[in-house]
C-alpha cells in the first residue's frame, strides 16, 4: 500500500491500526514525520491497543506537540505585548490560530512560524514595534527585500533575537501579484476577538485561507497536513455560507478542489453539491500522496511541474521570467 494512503486511512479510521505489521508501522511513522503529521497521528490513535514500541512513539509525539503548542502560543503572547500600543487588529493565522481557538480536532498539529494578519496601512507601525521588541530581519538581501515589499503579501520574515522564532506579518493572504485577490478588508472586518485581544479569522475565512494556502499559494509541499486542517475545519464548522464566502474572495475553485481532495483522502462528509472529481483532480491526489516508505518525496517530475505552477499562479508571465532570471543568476535552483 502507498504509505501516504496508509497514513490517510489511519487518520480517518484510527482503529485500522489493528493488524498492522512492523514494516507498516515503520512506514506509517516515517511518512507521518515527513508530512509533519506525527503529533496528529499520535492523538488519533492514542489509547487504542497497539504494540508497546508504537505506544512509546505516541507518547513522545504527543509530548513534543504539546511543547510546540506552548511555544507557539507564547510567541503569539509576546507579539501581542509588543503590538499592544498599536491601534489596529492583529489576527492570528494558521496553526497558532487553531491552537489559540482551541480547535480540538487539530490537537497535535505542528505549528511553524507565527503568522499574523494586520491592515496594510498599519504595517509600518507593526514593523517598527516588532523591531523595537527584539525581532530582527532574517535576510538583509536587497533584491529579496524589495521583492517582498513590492509584491508579496507579507513583510520579509523577522526572527526574534533571543527566542529564535520567526514571525511573518501579512496584510493579505495571497501575494499582490496573484490573479486572485482575496478581500483583505473583509478578512479583518469579520475577524473574531479572543479573550486576550488577539483575533482569529471567521469560520469561513479560516477555511478559505486554508484552501488558498493549500492550492492557490503553494507548491503542495506538506499538502497532506494542510488538507487535514481543511478536513477538520469542515467537520467543525460545516458548509454554511462557505461557497459564497469563497466566491467573494475569488477562491471558489480552490475551495471546491480542496473539499473534493479532502473527501477522497480523508472521507470528509460533504453535501452532494461539493462532491465530484474533475480531470485535474487525479494529478493533485497523486502529488499529495507522493511519499515512499522512508517518508521521502517521490515523483520528481510532478514536483517540478508544481514548482513552476506555484510561481505562475503568483505572478504574471513577464514578471515571472524576470524573477526567475534574477534568482537563477544568483545560483538558486528548484530543489
Amino acid at each position: 500500500m502507498n504509505p501516504a494512503l496508509l497514513l490517510a486511512r489511519v487518520l480517518r479510521a484510527p482503529s485500522s491500526i489493528e493488524g498492522l505489521t512492523a514494516p507498516d508501522w515503520n512506514a506509517l511513522w516515517a511518512v507521518a514525520r515527513g508530512e509533519q503529521l506525527a503529533g496528529t497521528l499520535a492523538h488519533r490513535i492514542a489509547g487504542l491497543p497497539m504494540p508497546q514500541a508504537a505506544r512509546r512513539l505516541v507518547e513522545d509525539s504527543i509530548a513534543s506537540a504539546e511543547q510546540g503548542r506552548t511555544a507557539a502560543l507564547w510567541e503569539a503572547e509576546m507579539a501581542r505585548r509588543a503590538l499592544a500600543g498599536i491601534d489596529a487588529p492583529v489576527v492570528l493565522l494558521k496553526g497558532t490560530a487553531y491552537a489559540a481557538a482551541g480547535l480540538s480536532p487539530l490537537t497535535g498539529r505542528v505549528i511553524g512560524d507565527l503568522d499574523i494578519l494586520v491592515p496594510r496601512d498599519a504595517i509600518e507601525d507593526v514593523e517598527a514595534a516588532l523591531l523595537a521588541a527584539g525581532w530582527e530581519w532574517v535576510k538583509p538581501d536587497p533584491y529579496d527585500d524589495a521583492y517582498y515589499r513590492r509584491w508579496m503579501h507579507e513583510l520579509p520574515p523577522l526572527i526574534h533575537r533571543d527566542r529564535d522564532k520567526m514571525v511573518d506579518v501579512h496584510h493579505t493572504i495571497l501575494p499582490l501579484t496573484a490573479r486572485i485577490r482575496p478581500d483583505a478588508a473583509a478578512l479583518l472586518a469579520d475577524s473574531v476577538a479572543l479573550e486576550n485581544g488577539l483575533r482569529i479569522l471567521s469560520r469561513q475565512d479560516m477555511l478559505c485561507h486554508a484552501a488558498a494556502h493549500l492550492f492557490a499559494d503553494g507548491d503542495l509541499a506538506g499538502g497532506m497536513r494542510n488538507l487535514w486542517d481543511i478536513h477538520c475545519l469542515l467537520g467543525e464548522f460545516g458548509f454554511d455560507g462557505l461557497a459564497e464566502r469563497a466566491a467573494h474572495h475569488g477562491l471558489g475553485t480552490a475551495m471546491r478542489r480542496a473539499v473534493r481532495q479532502a473527501v477522497r483522502l480523508y472521507g470528509t462528509e460533504a453535501p452532494p453539491a461539493w462532491q465530484g472529481w474533475d480531470m485535474l483532480d487525479p494529478l493533485f491526489h497523486r502529488r499529495l500522496t507522493a511519499r515512499d516508505v522512508w517518508g521521502r518525496s517521490t515523483r520528481k517530475a510532478v514536483q517540478l511541474g508544481f514548482y513552476l505552477r506555484s510561481h505562475a499562479l503568483r505572478m504574471p508571465p513577464a514578471m515571472l521570467a524576470r524573477h526567475l532570471w534574477t534568482k537563477w543568476r544568483k545560483g538558486h535552483r528548484p530543489a
Binding site: 507564547w74 503572547e77 509576546m78
Partner: protein, 91 residues
C-alpha cells in the same frame, strides 16, 4: 507605567547556590537569574507596582546598599524582555 509579574502559579522557582532557576510554564523557557530578580518577582506577584513603588518595597524588606531607580529600571526591562513581567498602563 506599572509592572505586572507572571502569575506565580506559572512559575517554578528553584534556588541553587548563588543563582536561582526559574521555569516559566507559559513560555516553556528556563531562566537562570541573579538577585534581585527572585525578590522582584515575589513582590510583583502580590500585585502590579511602578518603579518607585517597587523600590520602596525592596528598600523596606532588604538592606539596599544601592537604592538606584535607574538600575532597577534596567532589571525590569530585562524581566519584560524575558516575558516574566509585563508593562501595563494601569493597575
Amino acid at each position: 507605567m506599572f509592572y505586572r509579574a507572571a502569575d506565580p502559579a506559572t512559575l517554578r522557582i528553584v534556588p541553587l547556590d548563588a543563582l536561582t532557576l526559574v521555569y516559566h510554564r507559559a513560555s516553556g523557557i528556563t531562566h537562570i537569574v541573579d538577585a534581585p530578580v527572585p525578590e522582584i518577582l515575589d513582590i510583583l506577584g502580590e500585585g502590579p507596582r511602578d518603579v518607585a513603588g517597587l523600590l520602596a518595597v525592596l528598600s523596606d524588606r532588604f538592606d539596599l546598599a544601592d537604592p538606584d531607580s535607574a538600575a532597577l529600571a534596567v532589571r525590569l526591562d530585562e524581566l519584560v524582555a524575558a516575558g516574566l513581567v509585563e508593562r501595563t498602563c494601569a493597575i
